[in-house]
């Protein structure tokens, strides 16, 4: 490097192109940066070089597109960047050295990160997921090199057991115990399967990890394979995640090229290779035995256990199935030691958990928190509270298998046991915040619609039970609820829970049971008074115009898709109840609060 090059400052511009970033226009922003740099750099003799780096999700998707400008040791972050602002950043910040103040991140960005503890997400969002060297530079593949040169498989299993990590897919089974059972199962051929069929609605942790740090998942699979004695792994991933599939394919190709996948890795005699199987869209395939059937090319129907997959799994061979997040943790545990990992979290739930924080909170996004953090801290400190300062009503965790937790339980620590005690689960990490404008009967119905549609139909309690549960919920939300429906729901829920074959049916009643437990009066109001307190259930609402408040501006008339509103200019309008489809467009449009919804 000559003197003049050394004097050049090295400036890095990082643009978020996770799914959130892309939807907000990440690609266009990158192009705009390239163009602006080219436009300005050509004519002006600049004393810095620019590097583009594509990064995965850093979590704070609510403020996308996020852009970092790293200049030596200082780094500033911009939020909500659009292509036209990229030009300004280049001109004012990169050239003149003055950050564009109005687009800098604000306090909520710092609050969003203050209580988080990032292990997995630390590298997601700072390293280029499309470059294996970026992962290697931060210690990537050191863990597999370490175990291949100095640890026997039993040592690896002991280390993982000592770390206390439990499966992040939902059930929370101790990972080391699972590996040990597979190691001990007789047979020469064994498989490692990575479950990346993230089917829970409201969850995108696994997608973000694969998009942001795919090599950590590959390395985790290699370590698992070495520990149990497997030479072939499958990644079962949703076809609906095209960006994640592409990143994974690219990562695998690079790993092959570098000799990190294939035969005789690092001269150790250990060989490992990977295959990708695209899921074809079935929620039940998150269940281990259904997932196996799907990889084998069949309908993804679960079967009775035992035998467990660790004894008799894919193609009848012992198989370990781990979730993306679990596997991604493994390299970090090996690198930093079990003692370090188990120092984080609570007595029975170790380490960190990644959550998809969504719904009615101000700061939505992907977060990583130590186990044991209180729900309230997540919602108010990290999430910044409720949008529009409305009243918090409940937080739904664990997706269709989980439950709704009310305000009085916001002190509940987030760990496997505590959430279980209040009638919910950690699940895979979906966390949807609900406010006073969400109807709890409607939420329960929403989840039952989902589980009923996704029930594979193999066992009767789940196939018929979810259908009947949905019918009852449906009539309650339509004003046709009867006295005794609540008791009927409770009895049926107990039956479906205890008699279903797999986790889907066994947990499908949870959204009903938890909302009945904490929001029973809402059910009662629907049934007895035929009213929806949150004003969500369409059939229980009537729209009318308050004459005294109506200015006759005509905005509602224009907004009404059914042509149900009539009236002369500057005179009170009228809604025809016969024609009204109760879409609420008039209510949302009126600036004078003159549409009444009862």
């Amino acid at each position: 490097m000559n003197q003049s090059e050394e004097n050049k400052k090295k400036v890095i511009v990082r643009v978020c192109i996770g799914t959130g970033g892309l939807a907000a226009g990440g690609k266009e922003v990158i192009e705009a940066f390239k163009k602006a740099i080219a436009d300005f750099c050509v004519d002006i003799d600049l004393d810095f070089t620019c590097h583009y780096q594509k990064v995965g999700c850093r979590g704070f998707c609510a403020r996308d597109v996020l852009v970092d400008v790293v200049d030596g040791d200082t780094s500033v972050t911009y939020q909500g960047i659009k292509p036209d602002i990229a030009k300004r950043i280049v001109e004012e910040h990169l050239i003149k050295g003055e950050p564009v103040k109005e687009w800098l991140i604000d306090d909520s960005y710092h609050a969003f990160h203050a209580k988080q503890l990032k292990i997995l997400l630390k590298d997601c969002g700072t390293i280029d997921p499309e470059d294996i060297h970026a992962y290697v530079k931060v210690g990537g593949y050191d863990a597999i090199k370490k175990i291949l040169s100095s640890m026997i498989p039993e040592d690896v299993i002991a280390e993982i057991k000592a770390s206390g990590i439990r499966g992040r897919g939902g059930a929370g089974f101790p990972t080391g115990v699972k590996w040990e059972a597979c190691r001990k199962a007789p047979g020469d051929v064994k498989y490692i399967v990575c479950n990346a069929d993230e089917g829970d609605p409201g969850a995108f942790m696994d997608r973000s990890i694969i998009e942001g740090n795919p090599h950590s998942v590959i390395e985790g699979m290699m370590i698992a394979a070495y520990a149990v004695g497997s030479n072939l792994g499958y990644v079962y991933i949703r076809a609906e995640y095209p960006a994640a599939v592409d990143r994974l394919k690219l990562a695998m190709a690079q790993a092959h090229e570098m000799g990190y996948l294939g035969n005789n890795l690092f001269g150790s005699g250990f060989s490992f290779d990977l295959r990708i199987k695209l899921g074809a869209g079935a929620f039940v395939c998150g269940e281990e035995t259904a997932l196996i059937a799907s990889i084998e090319g069949e309908r993804g129907m679960p079967r009775a256990k035992p035998p467990f997959p660790v004894q008799k799994g894919l193609w009848g061979k012992p198989t370990v199935i781990n979730n993306v997040e679990t596997l991604s943790n493994i390299p970090y545990i090996i690198r930093n030691g079990a003692a370090w990992y188990s120092s984080i979290g609570t007595e029975k739930s170790k380490g960190t958990k990644v959550f998809a924080l969504t719904g009615k909170v101000k700061n939505t996004g992907l977060i990583e928190v130590p186990m044991g953090i209180r729900l309230g801290e997540i919602i108010y400190d990290i999430g910044g509270g409720i949008i529009g300062d409305k009243k918090f009503k409940a937080v739904q965790t664990g997706g269709p298998s989980g439950g709704c937790i009310p305000a009085e339980l916001l002190d509940t620590p987030v760990d496997y046991e505590s959430l279980g005690r209040v009638g919910s689960i950690i699940g895979s990490g979906g966390m949807v915040v609900l406010d006073e404008t969400n109807c709890m009967v409607n939420i329960a119905k929403f989840f039952l619609e989902f589980t009923q549609a996704e029930s594979c139909g193999k066992c009767v309690p789940c196939r018929i039970g979810t259908k009947r549960l949905l019918e009852i919920l449906d009539r309650i939300t339509k004003g046709l609820g009867r006295e005794g429906d609540i008791e009927l729901l409770e009895g049926l829920c107990a039956g479906v829970k205890s008699a279903s074959l797999c986790g889907l049916g066994q947990t499908a009643p949870n959204p009903i049971l938890s909302t009945l437990k904490y929001f029973r009066s809402e059910y009662e109001t629907h049934i007895r008074e035929k009213k929806c307190p949150a004003k969500v259930c369409k059939d229980l609402l009537t729209y009318s115009i308050i004459d005294a408040a109506c200015t006759g501006c005509g905005a509602c008339k224009r907004a009404c898709p059914a042509g149900a509103i009539s009236g002369e200019k500057k005179k009170p309008h009228r809604i025809d109840p016969e024609m009204c489809i109760k879409c609420g467009a008039c209510f949302d449009t009126c600036k004078f609060a003159s549409v009444d919804r009862e």
């Binding site: 939807a23 907000a24 409201g202 969850a203 074809a280 719904g359 009615k360 997706g399 949807v432 609420g584």
Partner: protein, 158 residues
């Protein structure tokens, strides 16, 4: 069509006989799974067609009918639902004059689908138009996009 299917069968044989792979490739090539294709596979591979239909109808990815030129997918995952995804879905139904999710307009220009979570929950509600995600959508915003596509389509056909 038989050439395409023969090619898929050849690759299927390499991939140790995975029916899902076969169907995914067929849909990729033809846009949907025609019944004739299943009949063809059934004969050539000596697999009962019931097994194909069993798999096709089990997974939401597969379609037995041709789909429209533009695919409008409204996300109704949990986060989108609590932020009004179903209102958007209702609007699309009305705008396209369809009676149910999964239908295609008569002119074959639009197919409307409800999807259960595309994993972009922090920018909910999300609408996918031909696989491009639109963030924080509203019913009005979606109507606007539909009008733009309709205009583009009619300009093209002129």
């Amino acid at each position: 069509m038989s050439e395409i299917l023969d090619d898929i069968i050849a690759r299927y044989r390499e991939k140790d006989g995975n029916v899902i792979f076969l169907l995914q490739e067929t849909q990729e090539a033809l846009g949907y799974i025609p019944e004739e294709a299943v009949g063809y596979f059934s004969k050539k591979l000596e697999i009962p067609s019931s097994r194909f239909f069993g798999v096709v109808t089990f997974y939401s990815q597969f379609h037995l009918k041709p789909r429209g030129k533009n695919i409008i997918s409204v996300c109704c995952g949990t986060a989108c639902h609590v932020k009004g995804g179903s209102k958007i879905a209702d609007r699309v139904l009305r705008d396209l004059a369809l009676s149910a999710e999964g239908e295609t307009t008569e002119d074959g220009k639009f197919t409307f689908e409800i999807v259960r979570c595309v994993g972009a929950c922090s920018i909910a509600p999300v609408v996918l138009v031909n696989n491009r995600a639109y963030a924080e959508m509203s019913a009005d915003g979606t109507s606007k996009i539909l009008r733009e596509i309709k205009k583009k389509e009619s300009d093209e056909s002129k």
